[in-house]
């Protein structure tokens, strides 16, 4: 418990006379403020340097970066001593785009780019207007055209050939795009004065949040065909997408409910006094304020189910993680799964880290 004796916001150095070299002063205040602290710093430094050294030795010095196509002999020589990054140039097209027709892979690549632009534009405060909804609809329509094709001279690609990063992005983004209106309705239902609607909303939210996503995905893949009339069958990817939307809706509903609770009662009363109907009151007065309140937790929820889309691996849908796992079934590269997992982890990390940075900057701005 001695580590919290100095709270970081009041460094001891502030109380000491400011003399000597500023670098030494900083070192003294932050790394060697007391004897135990100094020992801790030295121990950590040793561990860190050793760890970094062996990682660099494995990942850079002894690593194999390129091999002739489909030949992992050079990697097998250094196995255990160095990384085999050569597996990435060998397999990256499959990991990123799955079994999408090879010559047409510029289409999923362009879709990924569109998604990134869409996310970026959505973070711009100046664009937080009603038009943003049209932007989303337009972008999602454009992505559907690109992915499916069949229009404007693009050849048709059925969705069982889709795979990799675009599938991950589609599952997460559609989960947000459709789960969000659902979440708003359920959150309003949960705060409604009408007992039947309230209990249905509570039942839905608690049921979904009480069970793991895996069981919902099993339900989508195994039970859903039983639910539908005979002869009517929908695609596996769409079934998983429905499960993710239902899952996202329940979690988003709870976040939005928090925002609704944060809107002062005077706002509701003022809207009532103006004689606005229930829907106009919420659409014009309450929801715009409620949603602004909860944008940071909404981003965090989005990060959570962006990561959770990887669970579709369990029901055999080719998202980014599944393509990575499939890429290393190839006997030549089987032993180099760690490298592939690190590559995929880096992709997930870049997306999630950017989003969490953004959410934190929003929190800092609203906290001021």
């Amino acid at each position: 418990m001695t580590v919290i004796t100095d709270m970081p916001d009041v460094p001891r150095a502030a109380r000491r006379p400011q003399i000597g070299n500023p670098v030494l002063r900083w070192l003294r205040a932050n790394l060697f403020s007391s004897i135990p602290n100094g020992i801790l710093t030295l121990v950590l430094l040793t561990v860190l340097v050793k760890g970094l050294f062996s990682f660099v030795q494995w990942g850079v010095a002894n690593a194999v970066w390129l091999t002739p196509a489909n030949d992992s002999a050079a990697c097998k020589v250094v196995r255990g001593l160095g990384a085999c990054w050569a597996v990435i140039p060998e397999k990256y097209r499959f990991i990123l785009f799955g079994t999408y027709p090879f010559d047409e892979q510029w289409r999923p690549a362009l879709s990924v780019l569109l998604f990134i632009v869409l996310f970026y534009l959505s973070t711009r405060r100046a664009l937080w207007r009603r038009e943003l909804a049209f932007l989303w609809i337009g972008a999602l329509a454009l992505i559907s055209v690109l992915m499916w094709g069949g229009l404007f001279g693009l050849s048709f690609v059925s969705q069982d050939r889709w795979g990799g990063l675009p599938v991950t992005l589609i599952l997460a983004t559609s989960g947000l795009a459709f789960g969000f209106p659902l979440g708003i309705l359920v959150a309003l239902g949960r705060r409604s004065k009408l007992p039947a609607i309230r209990s249905l909303s509570v039942l839905y939210v608690e049921l979904i949040r009480g069970v793991p996503l895996v069981s919902l995905l099993f339900m989508a893949s195994v039970m859903f065909p039983l639910f539908m009339p005979a002869g009517f069958n929908i695609d596996k990817l769409l079934r998983a997408q429905i499960a993710i939307i239902l899952f996202a809706g329940a979690y988003l509903a709870e976040v939005i409910r928090g925002g609704l609770q944060a809107v002062p009662r005077g706002q509701y009363e003022a809207a009532d006094a103006l004689g606005l109907s229930y829907w106009r009151k919420h659409r014009l007065v309450v929801l715009p304020q409620a949603i602004r309140h909860v944008i940071p937790p909404l981003v965090n929820t989005f990060i959570a189910f962006f990561k959770d889309t990887s669970l579709v691996l369990i029901i055999g849908i080719f998202d980014l993680l599944t393509t990575a796992k499939t890429a290393i079934i190839d006997p030549a590269w089987q032993q180099f799964s760690v490298e592939v997992y690190i590559f995929v982890a880096a992709i997930y990390f870049v997306f999630c880290f950017a989003m969490s940075r953004y959410s934190r900057s929003l929190e800092a701005r609203s906290g001021r």
Partner: protein
């Protein structure tokens, strides 16, 4: 203006409905009607489909012989046992990973959360990097990564020995163990009883101190009830606490406690992933205690440990407990990812059952009811605990 004072609206007779109530009733009937219609539609489809596929509904299949092997379990199981027993074994496996995972994740998460607040720059930076990296990579990916690492470990003959008696190989982690039988359980039971009695004695001592202000030390009671009493029982019954050291015989280990690679990978993944979230919760909990509370406690000349225990922690816990509950629930639900690496938890066994018998609805509703029960019990317990610590508020 005074002349046109509005008349109050005419009072309605009891039981009649105004326009607002009518509207409310209409919406409720509509929504419930739609929900019931959807359920009925799905239900009738399901009944038709099941009869077309000649699947009998119901839980009768639970009594049949399961015939699936379960490699790693706490309870005794053999493939001739029933599906019901296989489920129970799976549930025990889920609880085994969830309970131990929650304890370890809390400890690790608290340590990292405190490290993030350390005055030592290096330590707080390292803790921040740990949190950031683990939070931003999907748990399933981390799980597969750990599992691949486990499989890449040397074979049993060339096992790593980080400490004497501990072996790490592709057979998993093998630890020395103390065999616990009935006599050992008696001693442990005495210790638990001692803890319970001590809890009440301490409460009484605090109540006495509240009355006259004289501090009464509680530690002699703790020593007597929790250490001396069980030790006396152990000596009088001559209970052996012999440590069983694992040894390599042929291709495998004999003795000791074995954590199978699947279990070990799942445990590491769950603990490290959840600890990153717990660290953030602990950090924000401690930071939520106003600086003035620290200063006031210092000004009173309180000892550091007393200050943390009696002033800072009770206030921090109020902020920490609710989000901690949802992390515990998440860890329990995330343990269902076991199915991806073949650790046989309740989800994985239900999945095998589903594939063997075709009883999809029954198997999935079993999974869901198990998790709903666990979720509800954890949230009931944590709500009770939360209400208890919130009472300290003015």
């Amino acid at each position: 203006m005074t002349s046109d004072i509005r008349r109050p609206p005419p009072r309605r007779s009891f039981g009649a409905l105004g326009p607002n109530e009518m509207k409310g009733l209409f919406w409720q009937v509509l929504v419930v009607g739609v929900a019931v219609a959807i359920v009925l539609f799905l239900w009738s489809n399901t009944v038709t489909n099941l009869s077309a596929r000649r699947i009998t509904t119901g839980f009768a299949f639970l009594g049949r012989e399961a015939g699936m092997p379960i490699a790693d379990s706490l309870l005794t199981y053999n493939p001739r046992d029933s599906y019901l027993w296989a489920f129970v074994v799976g549930l025990a496996n889920t609880l085994r990973v969830a309970v131990i995972g929650i304890v370890l994740a809390t400890i690790l998460g608290t340590l990292i959360g405190i490290s993030r607040l350390s005055a030592n720059w290096l330590l707080s930076r390292l803790a921040a990097v740990y949190v950031e990296v683990l939070r931003d990579i999907p748990l399933l990916l981390q799980l597969l990564f750990w599992y691949v690492l486990m499989q890449a470990l040397p074979a049993a003959r060339a096992a790593w020995r980080p400490v004497e008696g501990v072996f790490l190989s592709n057979r998993g982690l093998i630890l020395p163990a103390i065999p616990v039988g009935a006599p050992q359980l008696w001693v442990l039971g005495t210790a638990v009883l001692g803890c319970a009695i001590f809890f009440f004695i301490r409460r009484w001592l605090v109540a006495q101190q509240m009355r006259d202000g004289k501090p009464r030390p509680a530690w002699p009671f703790a020593l007597g009830l929790i250490v001396v009493l069980p030790a006396a029982v152990s000596l009088s019954l001559a209970v052996s606490w012999r440590i069983e050291w694992p040894e390599l015989h042929g291709f495998n280990f004999v003795g000791g406690l074995t954590l199978a690679p699947e279990y070990f990978a799942l445990l590491i993944a769950l603990v490290t992933y959840t600890s990153a979230f717990i660290a953030e919760i602990v950090r924000s909990g401690i930071q939520s205690v106003p600086r003035g509370q620290w200063d006031a406690a210092c000004a009173l000349g309180l000892r550091r440990s007393f200050m943390l225990r009696q002033i800072i922690l009770p206030q921090a816990l109020r902020v920490i407990v609710p989000p901690m509950t949802s992390q515990y629930l998440n860890l329990t639900k995330n343990s269902s990812l076991a199915v991806a690496i073949g650790y046989q938890d309740v989800v994985s066994i239900a999945n095998t059952t589903l594939n063997q018998t075709g009883q999809a609805i029954e198997a999935i509703s079993l999974i869901m009811s198990v998790f709903l029960t666990i979720s509800l019990s954890i949230s009931f317990f944590m709500n009770w605990y939360n209400a208890r610590i919130a009472l300290a508020e003015r």
